[in-house]
Symmetry: C2
């Protein structure tokens, strides 16, 4: 059996998240679509292992999965054969053969996400599925002041959604930054891993700082509370992009 590692990009708009839904076979998921396409190509049932279980509407520029195949197809031909058959909102960017022990999820050393906010009076028709539209005044300096409180190793229980089954709420954020270009504000976050809906709750809380509903220094108290109710709302999924998985 060969172990293939694939890097993929997808527009999450038309999917109910990455992970196959065992009790809803009629529901379109990225994983389900990939598995049925691989089956078409190599005539074998396959279970793929995704690095990150992105939610409904969340996009990926660099999601990774691995899968075990009993088949000698060259890696380049595998990418091409899948891309020919996949819908045009899922693209295989690269396929490589890796060690049999490689596991896309367990061996991830870090993940990078970005989140787009469209900041203008009226929404953009082009970003309606790719950025969270904010039209109330945002104090961007206050948001900038809040960012460092979240960097480093912390108990992120306050930013962890119900249903999270991670064994520990401790995570390290190596870098959290914000960049503005015209009306687009992009938050970039790089860490060793993230709890369920953690990035979106961080963004929702930072937006509350921008609104003046929270002071930047309150981020310290929110972390200390270890209570989801202490943080702000969860920003919508469609603004979020999984940028890269590090191994």
């Amino acid at each position: 059996m060969r172990n293939l590692k694939c890097v993929i990009a997808y527009d999450g708009t038309n999917y109910h998240g990455f992970q196959r839904q065992p009790h809803q076979t009629h529901v379109a998921t990225v994983q389900g679509r990939l598995e049925s396409t691989i089956k078409q190509v190599i005539k074998q049932e396959v279970d793929i292992i995704g690095a990150s279980r992105t939610d409904a509407d969340v996009h990926a520029e660099g999601q990774v999965f691995n899968c075990y195949l009993d088949c000698s197809i060259p890696t380049g031909k595998f990418s091409l054969a899948l891309n020919t058959r996949l819908p045009n909102d899922i693209v295989i960017l690269d396929t490589t053969e890796v060690d049999a022990k490689f596991h896309a999820r367990y061996h991830s050393q870090g993940k990078k996400y970005y989140y787009q906010v469209y900041y203008d009076q009226f929404p953009s028709p082009f970003l309606r599925n790719y950025a969270y539209h904010v039209y109330h005044h945002l104090d961007l300096d206050a948001i900038k002041d809040a960012l460092p409180y979240l960097e480093g190793k912390h108990d992120f229980s306050s930013f962890r959604a119900a249903g999270c089954n991670a064994s520990s709420p401790i995570r390290t954020i190596h870098n959290l930054s914000m960049e503005q270009k015209d009306n687009l504000i992009t938050f970039s976050i790089y860490g060793d891993g993230f709890l369920y809906k953690m990035v979106r709750t961080i963004v929702g809380t930072l937006i509350y700082v921008g609104y003046g509903k929270l002071a930047p220094a309150q981020l310290k108290e929110i972390l200390a509370a270890k209570d989801r109710k202490a943080a702000g709302p969860t920003a919508p999924g469609y603004g979020l992009f999984l940028e890269e998985i590090y191994y």
Copy 2:
């Protein structure tokens, strides 16, 4: 009667072009959608006059229309009321009251379009509706050399599609440029006006220059031929954006 001028943006993906189709009332057009929404707001039948009849799949960042209304609604409230009711792929960016004589189409002094080409081995899931995917080698220097031949005042009959009802094929291109940023190539074109499918035929012909199927200097011959068969193919509509109308 007041004459209102609106600047609008739309994602053309889900529309059969801007112009209302008289014999296909079931077909969704941007104009049809705008007129029915204005009717909802002001309870009057209205015919809007669009500056440019963009084709199916073509997008706009700065389309302009004007319309005559017998109604005292403030312009800001008009934008807001329409945006609340319009689908999220059409947005009113600005409404102003203009002179009764103002006509969005006849009074246009110039138009600016851009066309996006995604140049990479595999397509981008995010640009599938917004850029033409090209994966064969492109000689970008050759394309750059070809651009100046099209600038200036010419008979553009060779770049005019069948069905064009413009009285003259003479147009002036003030500026035609190409810019590359990572895998995205953007052609910008600014002129006094354009014939039917002229921008897309120019882009399709420039892509042929990039493929080496045409030499840059042949653009001169293509213009001189005054024959649509002399130029390259029409690039797909979804890469085209109407950027601005000048008055």
